[in-house]
Amino acid sequence: MTALAGTRALAGLAFRRDRIILLAWVLLAGGVVASTASSIRGLYTTLAERQQYAATVGANPASAVLGGPGFGLPNLGGIIVAEMGSVLLALVAVAGILLVVRYTRTEEETGRAELLGSAAVGRQARLAGALLVVGGAELVIGIATSALLIGYGLPVAGSVAFGLAVTGAGWVFAGVAAVAAQVEEHARTAGGGAAAVFGLAFILRAVGDASAAAHTGGFLPSLSWMSPLGWALEVRAYGGERWWVLALPLTVAVALASTAAALGTRRDIGAGLIRARPGRSEAWPSLASAWALAWRLQRGSLIGWTAGVAVGAGVFGAIAHDIRDMMGADTGAARVMADLGGSGTLVDSYLAWVLGLTGIAAAASGVGAVLRLRSEETGLRAEPVLATAVTRWRWAASHLATAGLGIVAVLVASGLVVGLVHGLRGGDVAHELPRILVGALVQVPAALVLAGVAMALFGVAPRLSSAAWPAVVAALAIGQLGGLLRLNRWLIDVSPFTHVSRVPGHEVTPAPLVWLLVIAVLLTSAGLMRFRRRDLT
């Protein structure tokens, strides 16, 4: 067992270093479970209400995209799983990916692993320690989920099954990240690769479940079985649990961990299995300004965000056409939809809701691009640039410009894809494309406000820059759950996306858009002005 020597010490170190972050993930997951369970329990008190939910939302391909196949309907537990399943699974998957990459590849990249590798630490100890800590955290999340659901009076068997299913999905993506961290030399690429696997898993399950709900027949419904996210729902919590399905994520997670361990023995520390290709010995003549550098550094993630969000939005948009057939005009589902997407026709409110989600995604891309300023500063790569003839203003503005460009690119691409897909299915591209594109573009000012928040933090309180991420999550939560949880109006108004016109379905009201733009400009200017006067850290 010499290969594993030091595992406990390394796991202990990771736990000590990140106990706050680990606790935050567990609390976040617990918060999602508790808030959804309590509000659903209050909303659907009678059997008739639950049956109506099952008949409308449950049988509808559009809601199957997020809600899954709805096996546990019309039980209360089934509704809860349908409402929060995707969010919770995404949360454990993302946590698993971020943390495993952080404990493995990031450690190698910074050279800390080398320091420890020279001590009495086994070859596999780092990987084993990472999986121990992350796997443990996922298990705690699963147990907390089960315990909370039992606490809200749901059946024990279903609650345990769902908790284990959540843990299983988390383990699979921890394993995916472990393999990616062996293959890729660079933490950012490893995380991106694992995130792409998650995206693919989501799309497979979404298409599979939507096809099953639409009774397409053929092989499409079986796509859900190719996705770890599908397995978590195929366990059928609260719908006659199929315990054997839990063996799937367990087997795959173990297989992935062993693969990562096997790959780890075949490479040098710090190296990847994919060798970095050599670059140019001289720069292109165009690489001669702060703008060119910012574009060079950000173009990869900008293209990734644009393509990823556009594809995701396309999947959602493709089924908009079926909404009309699947939902009655005045059902609970339609009311929920109107809550999210505005009170136009059902299809229009669904489209407006999808475009609202792309707005949040665009904001996330913008925040990521702005926060590159901070990672350049703390990574000591800002200093050499600012010691040349580049002013602080120009340096910051170059990254801000890429952030703005990214936001517009994500929304234009999403608007075009959704407009084309939906228009083609309805046979009326000329009518659908322009109004859907407008629905995407009205999101731009709100997304810019969140990017502005990131810039203001970077200038005024650089250490707290990453607090811009919770702001994005809060905007998402307020938009998606604000109505359901009957949040205070004042709180709902805090999110910039609350003030965006729900297009299509409503007219564009320009005044709030102008106000949002003004706020974005003010936040950005405040950040810029403060940054020009503060010390570089």
Binding site: H186, G279, S281, E383, A387, D535
Partner: protein, 305 residues
């Protein structure tokens, strides 16, 4: 005399800690100026103020005749900086980084760039993340040395370089001086400063404790003298400025304050010198004298508490 760098009474505090407690620094144009001090003495903080990356809490500073906080664009076209801890963009190759930094500074000499890549034996095609510490240092050095600038600000530039590359670096600095450039060379490697610097200053706990040419500083310190004498030599210890006298038969040795050497040599020749060895104080001794004094004072402080 025109100064490339002139700082008076620089003070910088970070929260409650005082990093600089009144730095005075004057570097005449065309000089290689050694800036000596151990880690944490305030070298990097001083440099970051000179570059306008930090703002001083008190004091005045002028670099190439301008204000480093306000005249960023103009000044930074005329200076190049090599940080002590070089961090490169992981996805850019070394060659790209050299060109980029040079161009952001306002252009670099292509012929010199090629020569330097050759002399430092750098593979410019590798990506930033694959370079070792020494190679990252080479990238930053080449980018700085290939730029047409008046002032080079180098913060521990040879850390991570092997001895062969250190030698190449030393040649480059000698050439830079011949071309009339000013060099501020922050270092804790005494041999390097001893070899390259025209003048130097020693910084300790945020203050300049010594400044001057190496021989100026040597005068302030003691020379070690050993002689074999024909006649017994009582009374050497009574001469002013003489310390640690050791007599071993006909051999005597002592430390002498360098400006008191004359009377000592006269005394010795009166006693018939057979052999004479005299050793000027090394920079290391100068340096240690200041720092030992510092730690002794600190220990005394600690003892009082």
């Amino acid at each position: 005399m025109s100064y490339a760098i002139e700082a008076r009474g620089l003070v910088k505090r970070f929260g409650r800690t005082t990093a600089l407690a009144g730095i005075d620094l004057a570097v005449p144009a065309g000089e290689v100026h050694g800036f000596l001090g151990p880690n944490g003495a305030g070298k990097t903080t001083t440099i970051r103020i000179l570059l306008g990356l930090l703002r001083a809490d008190a004091g005045s500073v002028s670099v190439l005749g301008g204000d480093p906080w306000r005249d960023v664009t103009v000044l930074h076209r005329r200076l190049a900086y090599v940080p002590g801890d070089v961090s490169l963009w992981p996805t850019l190759s070394g060659g790209e980084t050299i060109d980029l930094l040079g161009r952001l500074r306002g252009g670099l000499d292509q012929r010199r760039r090629a020569q330097l890549v050759d002399r430092f034996e750098l593979d410019p095609r590798k990506k930033g993340r694959t370079y070792s510490k020494g190679n990252r240092q080479k990238v930053a050095l080449i980018a700085a040395l290939a730029s047409n600038v008046d002032l080079l600000v180098l913060d521990e530039p040879t850390s991570g370089l092997d001895p062969l590359m250190e030698h190449v670096f030393e040649q480059c600095i000698v050439e830079a001086r011949q071309e009339g450039r000013t060099v501020l060379l922050a270092s804790h490697i005494l041999a390097e400063v001893e070899k390259l610097a025209d003048r130097l200053c020693i910084i300790r706990e945020g203050r300049i404790v010594e400044t001057g040419t190496l021989s100026d500083l040597r005068v302030l310190s003691r020379t070690w003298v050993e002689a074999d004498l024909a006649q017994p030599s009582n009374g050497l210890a009574r001469l002013p400025g003489v310390y640690d006298v050791e007599v071993n038969g006909s051999r005597v040795s002592c430390h002498v304050e360098t400006d008191r050497l004359g009377p000592v040599l006269r005394f010795l020749s009166d006693h018939g010198i057979r052999t004479l060895v005299s050793q000027p104080p090394s920079l290391e001794e100068l340096f240690l004298r200041h720092y030992r004094a510092g730690t002794a004072a600190a220990a005394a402080d600690g003892g009082l508490r």
